[in-house]
Amino acid sequence: MNEMNPDSIENRYLERLAAVEFTSGAVNRPVIERAVENHLRQLELSPRPIRFAKDGIDAQERVARDHESAQKEEVDAALSSLCRGSIDKDRDFRWQRPRDEALATGRARILNAARGAVCWHSVRWSIPWSRYWPGRTGDRGHSTNPEYYWRAGFDALEYAVRAHAERELRRTQSSKIISETNEHVWVPFVDAFAAGLWMFWINSMEVIALPRPALKLNGEQIHSEVGPAITWPGSDEQHFFLNDVHVPKALVETPASQLDPRGIPREQNTGVRREIVRKIGIERICNELGAEVVDKQGDYELLLLDLADGRRRPFLKMKNPSIGIYHIEGVAPECQTVAEALAWRNQSDLPPTVLT
């Protein structure tokens, strides 16, 4: 590494983060291994084998199996003694601003969206059939919270961006030595991130490394209309996204002509509902649900839709000004005008009636 010349390509961290490729799922294992081994050495932890998980499920299974031997706290303690002055830095804009800039360059938002899909969610066990209420099912004496396992891990991008933050701090700080020392702790993770490392977990016996998945992107959005948007080479794990919205597999794989518009009001996630509307098309939805326009105001329309349950219910059709597409949203049955529907939607004093 060229420590003396901050302008050499090795030290232009932002450029290197920006050049990272997200779509192939390629991994350079020796580089990652070198970075992690170096990190262990700096933390004065004994060397241990690095196991590469083949996908998110594999990584979580490995971590869950050995979660009692996770060394998160030990590593955090070693890091805070190694990186002197790092606690104050969290509140210092001279450190925080370049960090945020590097996170954006490393496309942390995309990776966080992917993480939301890959990360296991809590499971409520042994729920009686009569006590199942989608979105409201209560605990029945036994549930798991596997997000804990993700929190025990370390994010390669989070480490990589600290190198840039320390560099920028060094430019403005008098105690340059401290920042230089700190910078050297994090620099190997710029290489590791570029080599495909996403997350890693340090256990007492081994390090579990999870490579970044192959992402299908449309600009800065995770998006694939044909097949999964998140995969790992050689793995069956798949996650489906449309315009950055995590959606069920069926929505991507079912042709638009076979999607039933009557399922829309039953959809509880507004993002997913918007993507269904986008895929089916607002015209077909209005036709098939026998839409009757009862009021209109600018881009808003109050529709009565037939949901096949013997009643016609009001829905607000509106255009999303930022992405320019229409979507529909159920409103309280007592709404008779667009103004009332908007007032209800904006949490007026009308009761939140169950709509579907």
Binding site: S122, G141, E267
Partner: protein
């Protein structure tokens, strides 16, 4: 933690769309029973715009993936009693709730896979999601104490709350506008009390007898499981008490409660006599030709646990597991061999002619491990201790009240 039950696996199972394009008929003979036909009619009357193909499926008592949960319930005519033993695992994700439920016994045994309230798949399977071991306790607590959400508490017990602690708003939580209380598991006596109160005792006895048990031989776990099959969930709809009750459904036991081989168990006649009130006792051999009846309880097959400290029998202690045998023409079993030690050691003391009652009571209070299992009959005091030997202090006390005493001795090896 069972790693097979994780959100990824549940979602993956749901997205496999089991049985897509197939129809699954209810075939247990109850599908067109009046109550179920009425349920179907009421559903279709309330949903006049149901698609024609779904309407036809519902009328023919068949379900298919793509239906809503309500449509499936109408199609199979699912009453509360049909789903009482249906349990599943649920995961709530940003793209909806995914769940699968097993135990739909409607001719064949089915699992149903759901995303929110849409049926994604149906699969014929014998797999069963077991109820929580305190499910019956939770069910009765819901009804009697108004607690609906249950969380692990201390010592493997539960705490119950009237609100969902994971979804409650800040004000509710921080102003303590909720109830949270410990929920203790019910004993078999409490369960039976509830069965009496709900007029289900006869069905309970019948179910136990069908399974080869009686009230005196049943364990609390089995008692709870059988009661779980019988006690309806609170808020059951349209229960018409004047209607003829349906025939009891056969109870399917989970593997760990099943007898491995009925032939290895006691003879049928013994079960009948026990159900009729015969004490659960076995003949043990004392010194010489003498015999003694000692109380036991059945564990499995012909293995029984000794529940009483023997008066004159050597080498047997309470909590020991023993194998019993039956002689031709005799109903009361006899001791065959020791299978496992329970850890107690028995001491037999011949009391002095005119013992001082206060001293004996004090001795029992201070030095007998299990005050339930000591016996004092015919001038003899027998009791058990959990330590290898009596403490010197206890020996001194025993010297005051007894002419002589011995270990009987229950520390020897078990019989092969």
């Amino acid at each position: 933690m069972d790693l097979r039950v994780n959100s990824s696996e549940i979602i993956s199972q749901c997205e496999q769309n089991h049985g897509q394009g197939r129809v699954f008929f209810r075939t247990d003979g109850l599908q067109f029973e009046e109550r179920r036909a009425r349920l179907r009619r009421e559903y279709l009357d309330g949903h006049p715009a149901t698609r024609a193909d779904r309407r036809a499926a519902i009328l023919s008592a068949s379900a298919t993936p793509g239906m809503t949960r309500e449509e499936l319930s109408a199609a199979w005519g699912l009453l509360e009693e049909d789903t009482r033993m249906v349990f599943g695992h649920v995961t709530e994700t940003p793209i909806g709730a995914f769940a699968y439920f097993t135990g739909f016994e409607i001719g064949e045994s089915y699992a149903v896979y759901l995303r929110d309230d849409v049926v994604l798949g149906i699969k014929a399977t014998e797999e069963l999601v077991a109820p929580h071991k305190y499910e019956l306790t939770m069910r009765i607590t819901e009804e009697k104490r108004g607690l609906h959400h249950f969380y692990p508490g201390r010592d493997d017990f539960l705490v119950g709350s009237d609100i969902d602690q994971n979804r409650a708003d800040w004000d509710t939580l921080h102003n303590f506008l909720y109830v949270i209380e410990p929920v203790m598991p019910l004993s078999s006596k409490q369960i039976e009390g509830h069965l009496y109160a709900t007029c289900l005792m006869e069905s309970y006895k019948l179910a136990l007898s069908d399974l080869g048990f009686s009230r005196s031989t049943v364990t609390t776990e089995l008692c709870a499981f059988v009661a779980l099959n019988l006690i309806p969930y609170p808020q059951q709809p349209d229960l018409n008490i004047w209607e003829t009750p349906p025939p009891p459904r056969p109870i399917k036991l989970p593997a760990h409660l099943l007898l491995e081989d009925p032939a290895k168990g006691p003879p049928k006649e013994w079960f009948a006599e026990i159900a009729a009130g015969l004490p659960c006792e076995a003949v043990f051999f004392a010194t010489g030709d003498a015999t003694e009846l000692v109380k036991v309880e059945r564990v499995k097959d012909r293995i029984f646990r000794v529940t009483q400290v023997p008066l004159f029998v050597n080498d047997v202690a309470p909590y020991d597991l023993v194998e019993l045998g039956w002689r031709v023409g005799e109903l009361v079993p006899y001791f065959k061999r020791k299978v496992e030690r329970g850890g107690h050691r028995v001491i037999r003391a011949v009391l002095k002619q005119e013992p001082e009652e206060d001293l004996i009571e004090k001795f029992i209070r201070d030095h007998v491990s299990d005050t339930q299992s000591y016996r004092r009959e015919r001038g003899v005091l027998v009791f058990s201790i959990l330590t290898a030997e009596l403490k010197p202090n206890a020996e001194d006390w025993l010297g005051y009240i007894a002419e002589a005493w011995i270990y009987t001795d229950t520390r020897g090896p078990v019989d092969e």
